[in-house]
């Protein structure tokens, strides 16, 4: 059975993605900072889908631990999905460097650090799939979340470059740009219902895109066009908007 590694397995989106792959008979490696919090999901995947699941301690911002984390996995995964992220508080981050650093390091530096290691191993193997869950927030900076957005912008650019490099090695890199999703992260935001996806919708889109070897997907699909419009607003007008 193929194996998928899920980095940041504690989130609602990660649970949905893990179940989607497990229902298609993938063994699942769950990685998160608080490994004890994953044991219920580990049992759940095993009992529901009859697959093997395992849990592993992974801290996105503890960069020096990443190499050891990866080599300690029971087997190198066929698919790696980077789901972790930290929305944080834009307002606090503007004046509190600790908060700003946490946003940048979780969403960007941490992802680069761990995916560099995995990319090298996949390149040497000449096989594998890397999926990065970025965000439409990275496509244009807005006053309400530009710390998070700029980190995701960096991550999106990183994935694009990684895809370019690894294509020649037979490794598939998929960038995922979700719009609004009903998760704990967005629970306190009022998001318009027709534009907001369920985590299961995102998980299905990710799975199908992995199978179809897509490069970049938006989920829900219409976010591609929403972002096209948002990106086309002239900066002179955009800067005056309250977004």
């Amino acid at each position: 059975m193929p194996t998928v590694l899920i980095l940041g397995a504690g989130s609602d989106m990660a649970v949905a993605i893990a179940r989607q792959f497990a229902s298609n008979k993938y063994d699942i490696q769950l990685a998160a900072r608080n490994v004890a919090s994953l044991s219920a999901l580990e049992q759940d995947l095993h009992i529901r889908y009859g697959v093997t699941a395992s849990t592993h301690t992974f801290d996105a911002t503890d960069f020096t631990s990443h190499a050891a984390f990866y080599t300690a996995l029971p087997q190198p995964p066929d698919v790696t999905i980077s789901v972790f992220g930290y929305l944080g508080s834009q307002e606090r981050g503007q004046s509190d460097w600790n908060e700003a650093a946490r946003i940048l390091h979780t969403n960007y530096t941490g992802a680069v650090s761990v995916l560099n290691i995995i990319a090298d191993e996949y390149a040497a193997r000449g096989a594998g799939t890397i999926v990065g869950i970025s965000s439409v927030a990275g496509e244009r900076g807005r006053q309400s979340n530009y710390l998070y957005g700029s980190a995701k912008a960096g991550f999106t650019a990183y994935l694009s470059g990684l895809r370019n490099r690894l294509f020649h090695k037979g490794v598939h890199v998929l960038s995922v740009q979700p719009g609004f999703v009903y998760t704990r992260m967005t629970e306190n935001m009022k998001t318009p219902a027709p534009l907001t996806a369920q985590p299961q919708d995102v998980a299905k889109d990710v799975y199908n895109a992995v199978k179809a070897k897509k490069n970049v997907i938006y989920t829900k699909w219409f976010w591609r066009y929403i972002m096209l419009i948002i990106k086309s607003i002239p900066e002179g007008i955009f800067k005056k908007l309250k977004l």
Binding site: G10, D12, V15, S37, A40, L41, Q43, D44, I47, R48, R184, E187, N188, M189, K190
Partner: protein, 443 residues
């Protein structure tokens, strides 16, 4: 997030602040920072039992923790729904020990309502199959309880509408099956007398219930169809079914896409529907083998069927009367028939004995009726309440959206004991709902 919530009856609807959790610490954090909250599952109770200004949705707390395939023991977090459990256990030859008429409820909801099914007269209600469970009580402590450990908490939580705390984990026993099919028998009854006699005649069947046409008068008063069933054995299946006796083919679901105008369901259409439903069985008795889904969950095949009652919503009125008070049943059906308030769906069942603190079932007849919310309905239901009280019956809290508090206190013999246990485990009234305030359990 602040949103407009209503349960299955779409009445009442109110603005609620609902949060989710997938780890126990998250719900601990939430209740530590709020002065009142109620747990909410899949919103399939009909009225206001899981509505409150602040609610915690258990739907993301939905992990399966253990499944002992040899002994049929299932352990899970409280937010998993019965349909997910069936998908896991049926292919392994196990079934829910007790299931209500919809599989879209959570396990936590099944406990808090202490749900019953078509097999109540044989297997009792859900609480009788619980091995143990965890409840986060008012002092934010997680307590494991069972019929022998903290029995007061256990019995006040079964059927306790979430007022002792938030149910987080449940372990319960399953029922062995050899096929995913039911051997079903349907028998037409000419009137209520006939129907009650049939219930008696077929009481050895594990599953039984009856549909009643409550708009008939005279000789046909209370005519209906008794439906009984047993889990089918492999030799009762067709050759095709026997190839994979525990697998069911996936079926397409229909959906009511929006609220129908409320005039769609009127006396005339209900009459026509009931007439057709009764006459579709051209023979007095029909025997067949059918998949378990249409037998247990006929309405689940139509998603959002509650929208058929229109925007104003509906209430389901379910009461139980003691076995010897059959005349009360006649009196109530008479009142409904006289008022011309035909219920689209009227379901009759005979409950077996039940000994519990606050659960709804007791030995006797239970009837469930749907009434669209309209002017004069609540006054009419108050009159029905009087008859229920007069005959020593009571109403199902999971269906209730409007009962007056004195009706509750007079009809549930253990109401005071229940209130005392709530004080022990929920002394600060941390867990409260619109319903519990209305019934003066947390006011």
């Amino acid at each position: 997030m602040e949103k407009r919530l209503a349960n299955w009856g779409n009445y009442p609807a109110m603005s609620c602040d609902e949060t989710t959790f997938s780890q126990e610490e998250q719900v601990q954090d939430f209740i530590s920072t709020h002065s009142s909250v109620i747990a909410r599952g899949n919103g399939r109770c009909y009225g206001d039992a899981s509505l409150a200004q602040h609610s915690v949705s258990t739907l993301k707390y939905d992990k399966v923790l253990a499944f002992d395939i040899t002994n049929g023991v299932f352990e899970c977090q409280s937010g998993i729904t019965l349909d997910q459990i069936l998908d896991i256990i049926v292919p392994q030859g196990w079934f829910l020990p007790v299931t209500p008429g919809t599989k879209f409820i959570t396990v936590g909801g099944a406990v808090a309502s202490d749900v019953h099914g078509k097999n109540h007269h044989v297997d009792g209600s859900f609480s009788g199959h619980i091995i143990d469970m965890d409840v986060i009580t008012g002092n934010k402590e997680t307590i494991t309880c069972s019929a022998s450990i903290h029995p007061d908490l256990f019995w006040a939580t079964c059927g306790g509408m979430g007022l002792t705390g938030i149910i987080t984990r449940v372990r319960f026993g399953l029922k062995k099956i050899n096929t995913a099919y039911i051997r079903q028998k349907q028998i037409k009854a000419r009137n209520l007398e006939d129907l009650i006699r049939l219930f008696e005649e077929y009481k050895d069947y594990t599953y039984s219930m009856a549909w009643i046409d409550c708009l008939q008068k005279g000789d046909s008063f209370g005519r209906g169809i008794l439906i009984v069933g047993e889990h089918a054995t492999p030799d009762e299946l067709s050759e095709q079914q026997r190839k994979a006796p525990l697998q069911l083919a996936a079926k397409r679901k229909l959906s009511v896409p929006f609220n129908l105008p409320s005039f769609v369901l009127n006396t005339l259409t209900v009459k026509a529907f009931n007439w057709l439903y009764y006459l579709k069985n051209t023979k007095r008795e029909i025997n067949n083998v059918i998949p378990y889904e249409p037998f247990f969950y006929p309405l689940d095949a139509i998603l959002h069927w509650n929208r058929g009652y229109g925007k104003a919503g509906f209430v389901q009125y379910q009461f139980v009367l003691p076995l010897e008070k059959k005349e009360g049943l006649v009196a109530i059906l008479q009142k409904i028939s006289d008022a011309g308030l035909g219920s689209f769906l009227a379901v009759l069942k005979v409950f077996g004995k039940q000994d519990s603190l606050i659960s709804f079932p007791m030995e006797g007849y239970t009837l469930a009726l749907d009434f669209p919310v309209r002017k004069g309905l609540f006054e009419f239901l108050d009159k029905l309440d009087e008859i229920v009280l007069q005959y020593g019956g009571r109403l199902y809290l999971s269906k209730d959206a409007r009962m007056k508090q004195e009706v509750f206190w007079q009809s549930y013999p253990n109401a005071q004991k229940f209130a005392d246990i709530i004080k022990t485990y929920n002394g600060t009234k941390l867990f409260r709902s619109v319903q519990s305030d209305r019934l003066l359990l947390t006011e």
